[in-house]
């Protein structure tokens, strides 16, 4: 089955900047494994060291999460579209909002260290 895999922007650097890759596969597992063999740099972003799909990389068949289908064994049909949706966390420059005891200095002092000539 020829299926399309949609590549999210953060991972496109590992697939020659393509936004989608087409592979021949009968299951989700086969499709992803073919993708990772074709683009070896992508492998560590999809699989952990034990070769399991990483839990912060979700795979969707159409608009459905494969964890609620038959996971990686989910069968594929011709022209199916798979999407890789990784966890992203960006938003603000708010650093270390969770207390850790590190860098407890006054924020103004920190900014002054970073930009001494402007402040």
């Amino acid at each position: 089955m020829a299926v399309k895999i949609m590549i999210p922007t953060p991972l496109r650097q590992y697939v020659g900047k393509k936004d989608q890759v087409e592979v021949e596969a009968k299951t989700v597992a086969e499709a992803l494994s073919k993708l990772a063999s074709e683009y070896s740099e992508l492998r560590r972003h999809l699989y952990n060291q034990e070769g399991k799909l990483r839990s912060f990389v979700n795979i969707y068949l159409g608009d459905e999460d494969i964890r609620f289908l038959q996971k990686e064994q989910t069968p594929l049909n011709e022209n199916d579209v798979l999407s890789i949706v990784p966890s992203i966390a960006g938003g603000t420059a708010l650093r270390r909002v969770v207390a850790s005891g590190r860098d407890m200095a006054c924020p103004y002092e920190r900014a002054k260290r970073k930009w001494p000539q402007q402040l």
Partner: protein
């Protein structure tokens, strides 16, 4: 806390009717919706990239009480996307700067500022006084903390997240649908995903995602339309593609499943495995040289190779004269170009990526290899201020 005390919450003044007239003439909002907005209490976590458009629009829309949690200070690198702050605000606390901008836009809004870190100790108490929590943070520990606190309190969590050209938005409301942990049970290990500071972000993107969060917040308040509960919106800014994916409640979710194991807030840094991440440059056993020491080696014509492991587009911004560019991703492939017996100094922008390169090369047998402590930022501070910082 500047409150319009003369302004009863159950009615709109003549000025307010004029101000909100474009809302009032829409039947979906009307007087009823506008009064709901006026009574609403929304807490925004972070007054940065997402928090800027979010708080500006919620204030303009007439949300009665707007809480903001942020303890950071405005710096020059924020201005490219954090439009609530201006050039004159650099050096001020983000909270004070945001408060001023909001007062200018809509003095009827009561801004409640919390100049503090959000922690497992204070989150439940801070959230208690608000109806809706909007997550505009930039890191995994805080995202899981915000999620768990919202699940424990039964409050909706309006989610937005960005990375370079990728945006995500949803509404997690565990009473009616899935939570963030149903979507992503675990965060990525540190180091696999670069932070915004390392990876960059297109300035407009948080504007787009933050506005979606503001829209969803307003819809939750006025009870109109279909919110993103149970749906994940994924935005690809490069292809201008919005896609919608189904979010399902995970019955085994540790936070909102049928047998939750998270019954109180935990240690989120430990959960995300990032203790000490900020200090990778002082990883044990990584030899370092200060910028002044390297400058002295240059002045004394000592033979050494200076390697820059940043990306080519960063090399275009500025460089230390005499450095050779080998981007971090190519170090393994190109290490044969280097003499493993010779002296090598490796640097990057801040010293973190170069520490990883030094660690890698040491394992590959390089012995006289050093990390430039503090990278180009420190070089600019201590040796050559003509090298721009970014």
């Amino acid at each position: 806390m500047a409150t319009a005390t003369l302004n009863p919450i159950s009615a709109l003044s003549k000025d307010e009717i004029l101000r909100y007239s474009r809302h009032l003439i829409m039947p979906e909002v009307g007087m009823e919706g506008q009064l709901k907005l006026k009574k609403a209490k929304v807490l925004c976590i972070g007054a940065g990239g997402l928090g800027s458009p979010l708080t500006l629009y919620l204030a303009a829309a007439g949300v009665g009480r707007l809480g903001i949690v942020d303890f950071d200070v405005v710096d020059f690198t924020n201005l490219q996307r954090q439009v609530i702050h201006g050039t004159a605000d650099v050096g001020k606390s983000k909270l004070a700067s945001a408060r001023e901008s909001i007062r200018e836009i809509n003095p009827n809004v009561e801004v409640v500022g919390f100049e503090t870190r959000l922690t497992s100790e204070n989150a439940l108490q801070l959230f208690e006084g608000f109806d809706i929590i909007v997550d505009g943070t930039d890191n995994f520990p805080t995202r899981y903390l915000v999620n768990d606190a919202c699940v424990l309190l039964g409050k909706p969590n309006v989610y937005g997240s960005i990375f370079r050209f990728e945006g995500q938005a949803s509404v997690f409301s565990a009473l009616q649908g899935p939570c963030y942990r149903c979507l992503y049970p675990e965060p990525p290990p540190p180091g696999l995903v670069p932070s915004c500071a390392e990876g960059g972000v297109l300035g407009v993107l948080p504007g787009i995602v933050g506005c979606i969060q503001a829209m969803e917040t307003i819809k939750l308040i006025i009870g109109q339309g279909q919110t993103l509960i149970g749906r994940l919106l994924v935005f690809d800014a490069l292809g201008v593609k919005f896609r919608e994916l189904k979010l399902r409640k995970n019955p085994d979710c540790p936070a909102c499943g049928t047998h939750p194991t998270i019954t109180r807030l935990i240690d989120y840094e430990q959960f995300c495995g990032i203790r000490g991440e900020e200090h990778t440059s002082v990883m044990t056993g990584i030899p370092e040289l200060t910028p002044r020491e390297v400058k002295k080696m240059m002045d004394e014509n000592q033979p050494f190779v200076l390697i820059d492991v940043r990306e080519p587009h960063e090399f275009q911004i500025c460089r230390i004269p005499g450095s050779t560019l080998i981007p971090l991703g190519e170090v393994a492939k190109r290490m044969h170009e280097l003499d493993s017996a010779g002296e090598i100094v490796v640097h990057c922008r801040s010293g973190q990526r170069s520490a990883r390169a030094v660690e890698f090369l040491m394992k590959a047998g390089f012995r006289k290899i050093y990390n430039l402590k503090g990278g180009i930022l420190a070089w600019s501070d201590q040796v050559d201020p003509s090298v721009p910082k970014y």
